[in-house]
Symmetry: C2
Subunit: 503 residues, 2 copies
Amino acid sequence: MDALKQLKKELKTVVDIYGAVNLMHWDMETYMPKGSGSARASQIALLTSLAHERFIGDGIKGPLGELIDLDSGAIKNGIDSESKKLVKEIWKDFHRASALPKEFVKEMSSAASLGQQAWIEARKNNDWNQFAPHLENIINLKQREIKYIGTKETPYDTLLDAFEPEMTTADVNVLFNSMKSDLVTMVQKISKSGVDTHEHILYQHYDIDKQWAFTEQVLTDMGFDFNCGRQDKSTHPFTINFHPTDVRITTRVDENNFMYCLSSSIHEGGHALYEQGMDPHWYGTPFCEAISYGIHESQSRLWENLVGLSKPFWEYYFPKLQKIFPENLSLISVDEFYLAVNTIKPGLIRTEADEITYNLHIMLRFEIEQLIINEGLAVKELPALWNKKMEEYFDIIPETDTNGVLQDVHWSQGSFGYFPTYALGNLYNIIMYTKANEDLPNMENNIREGKFLPLRNWLKDNIHEVGRRQTAKEMIKSISGKNLSAKPFIDYFKNKYCEIYSL
Amino acid sequence: MDALKQLKKELKTVVDIYGAVNLMHWDMETYMPKGSGSARASQIALLTSLAHERFIGDGIKGPLGELIDLDSGAIKNGIDSESKKLVKEIWKDFHRASALPKEFVKEMSSAASLGQQAWIEARKNNDWNQFAPHLENIINLKQREIKYIGTKETPYDTLLDAFEPEMTTADVNVLFNSMKSDLVTMVQKISKSGVDTHEHILYQHYDIDKQWAFTEQVLTDMGFDFNCGRQDKSTHPFTINFHPTDVRITTRVDENNFMYCLSSSIHEGGHALYEQGMDPHWYGTPFCEAISYGIHESQSRLWENLVGLSKPFWEYYFPKLQKIFPENLSLISVDEFYLAVNTIKPGLIRTEADEITYNLHIMLRFEIEQLIINEGLAVKELPALWNKKMEEYFDIIPETDTNGVLQDVHWSQGSFGYFPTYALGNLYNIIMYTKANEDLPNMENNIREGKFLPLRNWLKDNIHEVGRRQTAKEMIKSISGKNLSAKPFIDYFKNKYCEIYSL
């Protein structure tokens, strides 16, 4: 067991270096002075490469090799079953990381930092050409990455596997295809229903400081621990963590769009609860890490949609909100407000999309990413293709690239294969929520009284503290007794929206 | 020359890691959630130790050994004179750092992080005992550090040398003794003069946001580049840098004490101009580093005192300040305001002291530090000794340890030997300012018109960009043609305050 102890100690070192890298990222997105972009990119690249170097270095290789066959992944004798699981997960990461040359990791990290800064400027200036050369470079690097790691079923599978281990492109295509027509049909039915949700209620002037204070209250009620985390502003909301005792989220505030800030805060708050809920005893190891990006997304979307867009949630918060914004809301009923926040309407921006059309935005990106990675689609074709697909899916064409192909940060960071995990999160979270509702007496009544902690604790016990002891597929199976399918999600949105829109 | 190239590359890596450490420090003092203190301390300790390990590792040792004899410091043949200087400075750092075992560096760094957090709490609770065990631990570590490095003339000299290279305890005692009686006499004369400076002008209510905006304007006028830096709030103001393009200062604001914030901002702004003024081409090497803490302090105090407390400065800013705070200042003349900001009065707090009594605060600390390090004075004796010396020097006894022995952050960070450099800064800066005034036509007239850039540029050319090409003693000699003495400073304060107080 000395080898395991040694391994854990060295892993903690690696994760501490990544913690510093994460802090540099957080700072870059929140407070860093602009003139320091290139120095920061180089520092991030250097430290990322140091962490990577250390992760695949002798300090890991030595003790890991005593516990598992480094080539085949066959566990050696004499370790208990919990440690077996741990060692296997460490080996998976080691095996993937070892495939990447040190210089490549540095190059990728630097390209991603510079790419992200270029994206911010390009988006601000609605200038695709400012970003395009960076994206070309990043895509070339991703193609090299695939070659280093090895092509799985398709090149895209190699990238997807980094975000959603053991999920294939084919799996995702099956899941998405099984719900696509129901989603499209639902959107059409709602559109034809003629129901006016009086969305304009949400687009009145809402004081920024009051909005901010309200989100902090909601986060506190959800169980977000401000003693071990904080909320700041950034262009693109995100969650980042340096340790279970330091988990930070960012959001954005629009004084003329109430849900813009709140839904981002709740979403990131859900991610943050996952990170704050992990067992710090295992810090540095896969048992203190998220299962997958899809499972992470299930936590954010469970809070954002299943809780934050639910009737019980608004029955609790709406009277409070009326007191904060009497000039906007005193003449509105909770039912009217609930209808407004559940407006289903095709729009340009993924992060502002409702919980139905959101999935169509993901499908669009998933299709484009497969074309880029598997078919070699040229970067210069992207804006036109984006607009064409927007027209197909939503019957709207973005008037600017800022609101079209430039809207997401992901590609600028080299994150291809990430998008599908967002929709997978929707499939996972309804399964978890349903089970929590079975396990917890009066869960929705509690929510109606602002008591979120039973749900938070259920998630902590059943998901957060699990770390990577299970895969996503195993977790879904152990929660529901069934294999993952889109059916529970389809049932959920059909039930909810048929009722709301009287279909 | 390949060895030198290799050496510079590896040094950049080391300095990048220290950049990450500095960011973790900055964050700890500004935005870090409180619950993360111990995780952060361990992460800082780890990265500091990695940087140290790398600095004394083969990546430096190899190429450095090709250029210089690692034991004797004798330069080998075949390198030009600029490179010689550079290599010699790198070797000095290497030689000192090599003396410290890796585990010791980690322990010291962790003790300092935890010590600082304990100090913050102890200061808040006026509870010396909360801090004392941390300080004992830190002092024991400093004694071990001295043993590792080797005792110079006295053990304290070993610590002083880290902050003010080539300056001895005996040198400092001579300098301080040569001005002590003049300082004490001046304070007594002023006290007997019966002049009322109407200090209360400064202690009216000054809106915090307006104060903040005013400091940002002053910093901008001084030449502080907000594109490559920022200002935030913290308990104890400081300057920190991650690269010449990212230099950050912190300050504190008191709505009932106008100069509390402004003088801190100008002070830290002076430090920041030094860091922003360095040549990024040499980033990672001693040519992009400050000569000494005393020279650093000369830059902050030059701006804080020689500029910020001068008549021309206030002739420019006072009319603007009157417009910002008409309710406080409309009936006051610039002469009255100038008198108020130049109030000389013994007080409890070093960082709030005037430019004369400040030096006495330093002498008190310098004496106590020598007792702790050279004579083994026990930690438990410190509060009583502090109060006894306060009575001797100032005829006042602090009513709380928070305003006494607990007021400074330095010991909590393990910084013994740092304090004397503050007073050395006062001796250096008047020599620099005098020379700038000789070299620049109309310098003080320019200041009277808010034009600070000629002075800033003079400092950049003659001090900032020099890096560590000169020692402090060499720089003073090359600027003034004379060896360092306290006489120019004594002449300065006698002239200034005899005029102000009509002595």
